[in-house]
Subunit: 313 residues, 2 copies
């Protein structure tokens, strides 16, 4: 298994490319659930849904989230009833939240439901939530402590960040078989996702970091920071708040105990010697994924960096 | 207060007429919850929603249920995920179920939520569920014991009825203040609803039948059976299964201990003497409610039968 540690949009796009160059059955995405929250009594799992719907080919490609062609009739009526409407829930989209919530009330775990949904939508890549325990990421801001989605969507990243609190609801156990999956993986890839709030919650689960550090298999990352800026989302202020340098070099440093190599963008070529000096092999290429050809090229470059002799299509 | 014991479509149409001829603030609808059930983890309350949405002017008038102009995107996607789709849930409609379920999980009672929803939708008639306890109506059929909605919607009333089991989940307490409401009512009207599965569950609540029988206020019914047939729904086989005669006379007999008068359709004029012989005053008029004028005329006739000097508009 090629195991990919995944956040939302960037990881989903990378996985789309990867699944187009190697057999998708050979890939497992381990997905951040730190963004999950309960709204309108429904279990919302933003990164799981983005990864699943992207790989199912039903994602709204322009946004990177939500289902293509979706409507918001239900949300508008929730608003008429006085419920909060700051988090967009499409009508099609709601089916995933309703189904997940109902199944979990029946006793199913998040892992079981994630697997049911990806199968129903015809996704061959295995999709595993990082944990079946609640693992909310809180952002400490000058407007108080907010859930990640409150900070990111409701407050539109406006409050100044003072810090990040992972696993804010208490201890988080790895999903069933997650540690075994990491230990037996033929390669581990850290997707181009926010190191603090997307990959951070996965690495913070007890046993995960040690399992990755101990594996003999290649471990590589793709930098989500290009030219000192995030492709998408609040990675720069969050990395800064977390004491990281918000550059591709900073990403390499954050993963220094874990990775053998890192894919960085052509624009960051000058950082290669410093990354090399960390004992991490840099691979310089174009990392902006505009369409499927770029996604596939990035996947091929990443596989090349692993050094695995993987036949790509 | 004029208290109306209500089922779904027929009662909602009658209430619409009543609210057009007397001040709606003077009307309280006590609504059957025997049809309520949990589907997709959501609390569905068919009769409450039909009454509320009809009085709010947002009902799909052709169907008598559901919200006008609604779509079924969410339901179609629930189907893709393998969830049952036999019960139509519109996207707008879902907002009511989601809101109700979320509020009840937060600790609100069904009564509280029914009141919140009718206020949000601008309904001046008070809407009270008959009970805050689960009170499912089961239909005993030659295909086994089914929830009312399974029999009515999923099985399209096809299985032969052997009997009806009200309050199938156990003892049902009256909604808060329901008995006081009945005792203090200036008039009680039994809407043109199915006597077995719409009005029956209300009357079966301990204390309700006694409170109505004891009141000095006028109590009148409108027959939902016209010419030996139901305007809508499976009243005839159900009345037969319940040992009632499926005619306007049978309706009068079923309520004989409760009512002072009954409104019957012109087509049933020949039944008037037999009803009169029960000590119940019949009022003969057109009872088919095609549009608002017919609804208002039926409301005026019903108020006339109560003998109350109510100034109608």
């Amino acid at each position: 298994m090629i195991v990919v540690l995944s956040g939302g949009v960037g990881a989903a796009r990378f996985l789309e490319g990867l699944a187009a160059v190697v057999a998708p059955e050979r890939i497992t995405a381990v997905v951040n659930t730190g963004d999950d929250f309960i709204l309108h009594g429904l279990h919302i799992a933003p990164d799981l849904d983005i990864v699943t719907c992207t790989l199912a080919g039903v994602i709204d490609r322009a946004q990177g989230w939500g289902i293509a062609g979706d409507t918001t009739e239900c949300l508008q009526w929730l608003g008429r009833l006085g419920a909060p409407t700051w988090f967009t829930l499409g009508d099609r989209d709601l089916a995933l939240h309703i189904y997940r919530t109902a199944r979990m009330r029946e006793g199913a775990t998040l892992s079981m439901v994630a697997d049911e949904i990806r199968r129903s939508l015809g996704v061959a890549v295995k999709i595993v939530p990082m944990s079946d325990d609640p693992a909310p990421t809180h952002i400490l801001t000058d407007h108080g402590e907010l859930h990640f989605e409150e900070y990111f969507v409701r407050e539109r990243c406006q409050p100044a960040i003072r810090g990040v609190r992972l696993h804010a609801a208490g201890p988080v156990r790895p999903a069933p078989d997650l540690l075994a999956l990491l230990t037996s993986a033929e390669a581990i890839i850290i997707a181009p996702s926010n190191p603090v709030v997307s990959v951070g919650p996965i690495l913070a689960i007890p046993g995960v970091r040690a399992a990755i550090a101990a594996t003999a298999a290649p471990v590589v990352a793709i930098s989500p920071i290009v030219g000192g800026a995030a492709i998408k989302g609040p990675a720069v202020p969050m990395m800064t708040a977390a004491g990281m340098t918000p550059t591709a070099l900073g990403v390499a440093e954050a993963y220094a105990d874990l990775i053998d190599g890192i894919v960085i963008d052509t624009i960051d070529a000058e950082l290669a010697p410093a990354i090399d000096a960390l004992g991490i092999k840099p691979l310089i290429t174009d990392t902006i994924m505009r369409g499927l050809p770029e996604k596939m090229a990035l996947a091929r470059a990443t596989l090349e960096l692993t050094g695995l002799a993987i036949a790509t299509t």
